[in-house]
Symmetry: C2
Subunit: 496 residues, 2 copies
């Protein structure tokens, strides 16, 4: 009956009768339906927009107003109000305060993304650890069983890097949560300094993490072959619902501009004053970059089969800094049009966000090591390396172009990734079990925690599928719609 309506507020212009100044979007409480009949009031058209891809639990609507009068008292005036005396707009507080909750929501989206991805990965890992197909091509023993598909590198390369990604997202989500609450205190005291950095990081990560998860669900589904396409996978609904996320709360391609604008601003400041006291890790990184860019030597991430964790962090950070510098150079020095740079800026945001994921994951290895027992710290390190090297390999030319990583070590990545996956393989089922996602939430025959994949698939199809309770008559000329019903199908027709 009542709704919060966001609308552009036009106020009479001071200089010129009949013209208006737009003072931006404001919020109003408006009655839209009649209290008794629940019909829309005069001048209001409102309704449900109809089917969407998924996310049916959200009843998105449309609303049009035609000469609809709203009293001034309906305007929510915590941060802005129109003066009764002068008719002017008075704003209270810092305008940036709205970014606080935006940042909070985007931070939560990271934690949500990691759990949704964990659901998809749980299903894929469990099923592929049960499913067998084909004997090893080099097998010479007729008695050899068919291989578990999880032992094929072509299945591993699709699922195991995503398994590692769930943990990368987890530690960054936790870090952002802590950072938000720490910054919140500073902001409450009126110091808006940390907000820009927080907003930039949360925007870049929202874009990257929701994309990784949206794409990852489908990658997991396809890795499961034909049964992945079946309703027993449990991934059909989760995919349809999740596909809203790359668009809502700031479109994934749009908001990366905010990240790039922030980084260009920071780089401009760093170039201007390379010895100012750094306010945050980005300042530190940019100062380090500017001090070293003239004598940079590209790093060997993998050297003679040995992986250097410190070099991994270094190349991700260096690449982000170098791409920031290129963006600064193009926009500030060469004054290129913003629109022409948009793809470059999107790439920058992604590189910067990947650097956050890698750095935070690496930090967490040290922070969590003492509280974890058994092989867990080593397994998490393998996850860290797999996520990092897989990402490095996917964007290899970006790392060599920026003189972050050495060409030779980039060529060694595919072999290193194969070895990491073989290391991780024996722990894969335990790692997804660690996410503790209950069977009722997975709602998946393939992802059952007890591994009874085929029993459940048969039960779903043969016993619980209502289609199989009715034997339809294939002879369309007959009046007996359901075979043996004796009622000419009246019971079914009544439902139509």
């Amino acid at each position: 009956m009542l709704q919060i309506v966001v609308a552009q507020l036009l106020l009479p212009a001071k200089n010129g009768a009949g013209s208006y100044d737009n003072v931006g979007p404001q919020t109003f409480i408006v009655q839209i339906r009649h209290a008794d009949t629940h019909q829309p009031l005069d001048g209001i058209a409102v309704g449900d927009i109809g089917p969407k891809y998924g996310y049916a639990s959200m009843d998105n609507g449309y609303m049009l107003f035609n000469h609809c009068r709203v009293p001034k008292s309906a305007m929510l005036s915590r941060y802005a109000e129109v003066s009764d005396e002068t008719g002017a707009m008075n704003r209270h507080g810092h305008p940036a305060v709205v970014y606080g909750s935006l940042t909070f929501v985007r931070g939560q989206i990271i934690m949500h993304a990691r759990l949704v991805l964990a659901r998809a990965v749980t299903v894929a890992v469990r099923y592929c650890a049960i499913r067998r197909q084909f004997r090893d091509r080099d097998s010479t023993n007729d008695g050899d069983e068919e291989m578990k598909v999880m032992d094929y590198p072509t299945v591993q390369i699709r699922i195991l890097p995503l398994l590692a990604t769930t943990f990368a997202l987890h530690y960054t989500g936790e870090m952002m949560h802590t950072l938000y609450h720490k910054s919140r205190e500073t902001i409450e005291k009126g110091d808006f300094g940390p907000l820009a950095e927080l907003h930039s990081a949360s925007s870049g990560l929202k874009s990257l993490c929701t994309m990784l998860t949206a794409d990852g669900i489908e990658t997991c589904r396809r890795a499961m072959g034909g049964h992945g396409f079946g309703g027993g996978s449990g991934l059909v609904g989760i995919n349809a619902d999740y596909l809203s996320k790359p668009t809502v709360e700031g479109d994934n391609w749009m908001i990366t501009q905010q990240v790039a604008a922030h980084l260009i601003k920071k780089m401009t400041a760093a170039v201007k004053n390379p010895s100012a006291a750094p306010q945050d890790p980005t300042d530190e990184l940019f100062q380090y970059y500017l001090n070293n860019r003239d004598h940079r030597i590209s790093q060997n991430v993998v050297c003679a089969g040995t992986i250097s964790d410190q070099s991994i962090v270094d190349v991700f950070q260096w690449r982000a800094a170098d791409l920031s510098y290129r963006a600064y150079q193009a926009r500030v020095v060469e004054k290129k049009p913003w629109t022409r740079l948009m793809i470059q800026l999107h790439t920058l945001s992604r590189a910067y966000s990947e650097q956050i994921l890698v750095t935070t994951f690496h930090n967490s290895l040290n922070e969590t090591a003492s509280s974890l027992s058994g092989p867990t710290p080593d397994v998490l390190r393998t996850c860290f390396r797999l996520y990092s090297l897989y990402t490095l390999d996917a964007f290899a030319s970006s790392f060599t172009m920026t003189i972050a990583a050495a060409e030779d070590s980039v060529h060694a990545l595919p072999d290193a990734i194969l070895d990491l996956m073989m290391e991780l393989r024996p722990h894969a089922v335990k790692l997804v079990d660690a996410w503790s996602i209950p069977d009722w939430l997975l709602e998946s025959a393939l992802g059952r925690s007890d591994g009874k994949v085929y029993e459940e698939l048969f039960d779903m199809a043969h016993r619980r599928n209502p289609l199989n309770k009715t034997t339809f008559n294939p002879d369309y000329r007959s009046e007996e719609i359901v075979k043996g019903s004796g009622d000419k199908g009246d019971a079914i027709l009544a439902k139509l």
Copy 2:
């Protein structure tokens, strides 16, 4: 009632009473339901498997046999039969003949893929040419309109390379069709020589093209923002249905092994006898590669802003040949385990198939030029360049590692791609119109050929959405379910 059943045929082993030899899968005509009651016969469990992701028009079923007797006369014996006298298996004709129709179906899948992708691209191009959002960030004129989103490079980079891809797929689909019918004649004469090459090409292309289309639909949908998630996009159903394609008719990751095995065989032969008369373009390419690999100079695809079409074809072919040689080296010379090489072999298949798309597209430019008028040949050349350079950029390190393309020209790709997209932009709507996909097939408010996007969206939501015909009572304590119905909602309850 009757079904063709594919089952493993076991025949009594000659050496040993009670044991059986498996002579492979054979086909049988089996009665599975009673002619009158349509109930499954004794020992047969059969039914519908239940919901799938999409493709609801296909009623996939399951079937189990328990001690079900089938007479020998039920076996389809065109190519293999069991002798009445000896009980032995007699095979007729060439066993490879089954690959003929497999190849034909995979060829058709390419043409289908290009049309499905064209549907998605048509919707995206038309909508993004209507939709406006935000003024140019560098605009200084208050009177400037908001930009059409199709003019943002971040929208172009997602849609225009896919528009170019539809034509790349088209010309290769046509070429495969011609090649199939030409090879068919040779095969009918008993010469199975061309079949291996045809089967390899059709497998690699099936994998590549269905992946490009499946991913491309979703890329187009996301490029349309919030309305892309809405039911008015027309891409929801097409996506759900098409997602079966990367799996059916040979899983996209599995069948690339067949391509790689063929290429390794060809390279082995070429190394053994580098001056044998070439039987097909692959032989020619491999001989050229082996003759030149010692003094290869990487090519400049883009040099001082000028694109060399001949170099584009060269680098795609060289990369495919070099990756073939690496696979030969790893498998034949170093005798590495097949399973360990699987990812490398998948990459090889993709590179080889991309080479087919690029080469065929380039050939078609010359073949079609004389029959096309106006700017069309130039526009198609832009499509050729955009598809090729976009693909090159996405796998840049693979081209530099194989000494196919020069590092410097790879770094020039993003700028060259931006320019190509600006060239193509004015022709984008006409190019999708050229696919002539009727509105009733698109079934999309966003993709209407007359551009009446918002009129149609409003009509769908406000006038045709049945949810809005009923005003539900938000007061759950009331017995009046539908406001103003006067029947306490009986009409609705009767449907349940």
